[in-house]
Symmetry: D2
Subunit: 366 residues, 4 copies
């Protein structure tokens, strides 16, 4: 229980259901003095909004953030930052039918088993809409990190069989393509693939990659609060993620040590690495190189083809899901991955401040 908080010092607590009155987040532990306004948050929220393209659900979600506390004269005060987004376009009638059965690939059955009943409207707390709070918090974390030259870039790496070509990486394309791919050509092919999926009443999965630059060496705490361990938790906690990779990830298991070790070298008087198979983390601690993460997203479970399942009475039935559903979750989840990574790094930054007596003396020294 009490599973809706994440982070130790920069700590977020999210709340809200798909069809409740509102969703939101409380950020506790953000340092005082950070310039922040609703626009900073809205930019992030707008990136997860549906209804923008053919490949996303035509639902309209205004998702306007209200900033309720923790700011004074445009800066954070060090006290909790509470933000909420009202639910406005929910049509509960759409969901009345699913109250009584368990949708394959969804959390319906698991929630019933855990809690005895569930808010079935739009999946309740298990809905992707839950990520509104994560993204609002991620916007604040990213703003904080930017003060230290730390930047995050998440994008769609693949949808179904269509992968981007890293040699054509175009950062601008991430915000421009409906797939959030940094490769316009691949994006066009992915859209065609998704159109096929929809025609077949089916859905697709994909891979989201996130690169984090400018992270100082030394973040992450042995042995359980390792930076990669917390990033893995952060990403795996996003609905539909079934695998998380750091650096070269699954590829390392079939490699030789001589191919996988990154030689250290000097560059501009700084220790750096000739390669970055490790993805910027060694022994659970950042090494100063770019951190590289990948999250594998399963295909949207809500498909329009008929499916077998059981109902609450324990009868085997066949269902056909209706309503509005994205054929792929990936593009909307890109900003969620970026947000969770930002929150994790911000927390590690704060956790690391007192790792050395020397650091403390810089603050409290007399």
């Amino acid at each position: 229980m009490s599973g809706s908080s994440f982070g130790s010092i920069f700590r977020i607590t999210t709340w809200g259901e798909s069809h409740g009155a509102a969703l939101g987040v409380v950020i506790d532990g953000c340092p005082a003095g950070l310039a922040l306004d609703a626009g900073d948050i809205q930019t992030y929220l707008d990136r997860r909004k549906p209804g923008q393209t053919r490949i996303a659900t035509p639902r309209k979600e205004a998702d306007e953030v209200e900033l309720l506390s923790g700011l004074f004269e445009g800066r954070t005060t060090g006290t909790p930052i509470s933000m909420l987004v009202r639910n406005t376009s929910q049509r509960s009638a759409d969901y009345s039918e699913i109250a009584n059965y368990y949708r394959p690939g969804h959390a319906d059955y698991a929630y019933d088993a855990k809690y005895g009943f569930r808010d079935y409207r739009g999946g309740g707390r298990s809905s992707g809409r839950e990520t509104v709070g994560r993204v609002a918090a991620g916007a604040v974390a990213a703003k904080l990190l930017s003060e230290f030259g730390i930047t995050l870039t998440a994008y769609t790496r693949s949808i179904g069989p269509v992968s981007i070509d890293m040699s054509k990486f175009d950062r601008e394309a991430i915000l421009r393509t409906p797939t959030c791919m940094p490769d316009t050509d691949a994006s066009i092919r992915a859209e065609a693939y998704l159109a096929d999926c929809m025609k077949n009443y089916d859905s697709a999965g994909g891979v989201i990659e996130c690169r984090i630059s400018g992270v100082p060496a030394g973040l992450g705490d042995p042995v359980f609060e390792k930076l990669d361990a917390n990033l893995a938790k952060a990403l795996m906690s996003i609905g539909a993620v079934k695998a998380v990779e750091v650096g070269d990830g699954v590829e390392v298991s079939s490699r030789h040590g001589s191919d996988n070790n990154d030689a250290f070298r000097m560059e501009d008087g700084q220790v750096t690495k000739a390669t970055n198979h490790a993805g910027g983390i060694l022994g659970g601690i950042s090494d100063g190189s770019d951190i590289l993460l990948r999250a594998h997203i399963k295909p949207t479970p809500s498909i329009f083809s008929p499916q077998k399942t059981v109902n609450r009475q324990g009868e085997e039935i066949e269902i056909a899901i209706k309503g509005r559903h994205d054929p792929v979750i990936v593009p909307r989840a890109v900003v969620v991955v970026e947000s969770m990574a930002a929150v994790t790094i911000a927390d590690a930054l704060l956790m690391g401040v007192g790792a050395k007596l020397d650091n403390l003396k810089k603050i409290y020294g007399r």
Copy 2:
């Protein structure tokens, strides 16, 4: 900081370095009344001992556990269980040379960046020896879970290019083969591969799989304390793990929804699933099917081939690592994966007790 604790209610705190006086763990939150003795722990510790085969380091580590608290007349009392293992065979002289440079693929540089200096003897806290405490705790968690019919089976799935054949799965072989593979033929091929690695002064990685059976539906807490999120953290916190998969893992990203959804069906009056692509977890909550996890382990970074690196003075140098090192970490990490999974499930079991008012009434009802 304070990163050496894991779990919320069944909470473990590990301590100790490769070449310190001892290593150990404190388990806090284990329920009272569990039958437990040193033998239960020793069985697990013996599985991670080196010096048993050609493919493991010839170091001798007796690793005899001392049970110091939390037991009375053969049962847990509900108070902290403290266990330690003395370090006996460490030869610090072996490591004097590495005090001054950063071994590629190791945490040396990251620790220096974080703490300003490091215990360089055998890697200090970043050594694989740190897992002694995890495994001792895992033994207790597994004993607790066995009271509820929950069993864990971890094994080596692959080493380098050699994978097991699941159709030949032989549970007994896990403890018998030096690779911890449940397939004797594959194990023989893997040993040959490792012999080649050693001849070439090189090392190998691999994949560990863990199956957890008997987990009741309903464990795991939305939205950040999801069962898969905590399992991902648990596994990624093990040194050398670079990717974690749940269920079909990385494969789901290229699938259609119609291929990936698991149809619900009835079996013996119980809701179950026709397939288990999800790996026993839906929406972060156990669904009653087997939980299936995979951890991808990088090749041992300590290789005997010459490597480029830098020293603490910032000079680029070439080194050749000496000493005793496993050509592959995988077999010894199998019990570590099983232990971390056990601790995570035990904690989720305890976290879930109060999810329903009805549960509380069974305990406190009048």
Copy 3:
């Protein structure tokens, strides 16, 4: 940092400032299935409202609660319960003057020292208005506890020199008297005393007592999560509380053991105690007797008499505080004490569920 959460399983996170847009709380970890509606919360919030009597500030605070999440068809779902109260009557102009100096007895200077600046409007986060979130959470906790026959009764024990006569204890009077005293005569004398205080531009303190009945023996966790330790933290975290007593409290230090020990005896087949000097807690664990707590509240620091202080420029100045201020905080803090006690007991109830293997078997047994 991140100091706005309380509790381990039944966990509350409050947010909001005196003159911000709103204040609120997120409760995470409340079991599913508890009947709850806005009326349950409003009843508690109404008890802390000002503007009801002569001895409270004439500010009008509607304090209508909005229940935003965690409920479905009138019952808690096990997911976070988010509640907020809009600020409506704040007049920021009143506070412009205090932006530049430090009010004696207030947190102004401490906040500036900590954060570099502060939201000076009405004390910002250090305002008594912060307790809105605590009380909303307390209402939920009390409702949960009532399912197990646990009841809480807080009341004013003394204001300045005026104490209640326990032999005249009248539970109804607590809600009826403007002082929240359970003794109408004492209340009349206390009102006269407060009228004098106001005439002299001065203020008064007092003592709040809280009795908790029906707590099962066995709550509280050795050695740091003792029930009395958490209750002490809960009460001391309320602004203006400077001492906390359990049972006979400060009196025990001058007693003999033979006078202070409570003899155990049998009553209706239950172990009970002949006396209750211990206040229902032994070794940090509830013993089944009533829990008795006392919080000592300092006099309102905002007084109208001239006072010496310094300003942000470091100049010594004399000030005279204006505005609307209660001459005594005690009556409005009664429900806050009750709420914090309720939250603490609810958390201990949930924490204790898994203390025995036998309890777990009642839930997960097969």
Copy 4:
């Protein structure tokens, strides 16, 4: 459950029972680079040793600390510091009789109610011997604080009716007098009083005071992690403490605001206070003045006079406790109070490092 940890960043986990093999503590989160050796710890442990005077139990406890991890070349490494003390002088035979009944004033019944059974030897985990781990941790915390000019002084303020005269305060006397009073005359009177108690087969309580000097303004986190809230928890978690006061404590409830407010003034260019009724904490945050705490300790419950109680079979019986017991706990608890205060302040120091963006820039700025 899992109640044996205290602190958020400087986090201690204690373990061990009165008659188990050993007791100890793991400190996680101590910054790297602090000079520390076993002598630092032993000095503190020696202060809680019994057998030193007539008024303490004649048990011999060598209590030699073993430092097992977290140190390298005489300095902390930032990884967990594990310490243990072996139990050597326990005679379990003494306690066989109490296995079957509930001693008044002890935790016997509460433990049975919670856990179903208990380690009855010497009180098990509820024994005062549990504080060995607290004191070892306190020694490290105090050493850390001394780096920042923060010092703690705890002493006996009263035993039974005998109070010290603050005008005769003699710091040296604390370590010299058997009562730990800083007033030799009072100590002699207290010894006489205790001799009387012993003659009457009775026991006494008392008050411990702790002064903390040099704490920078700004420590403590609103609204639940207030410095006084955590200090109250820290002290109330010590067995036998029944009340905690901060600053003028219980006296404030009968005062006028004009008498209780501390005027701010300037001294050597620093904001300070003309008086210190608040005891160094305003709004839960340190204000730079000395922090002043008082813990009220109940009389030793183990008395030799006959007492009424019940046994595990639910029969009312009369008992006479035998064995070796201090007639007063207070002198041995002085170093425990000091230790818990030190741990709390050390944690607050670390928690506060990132409160301001400016602080973070001093560490991570480029």
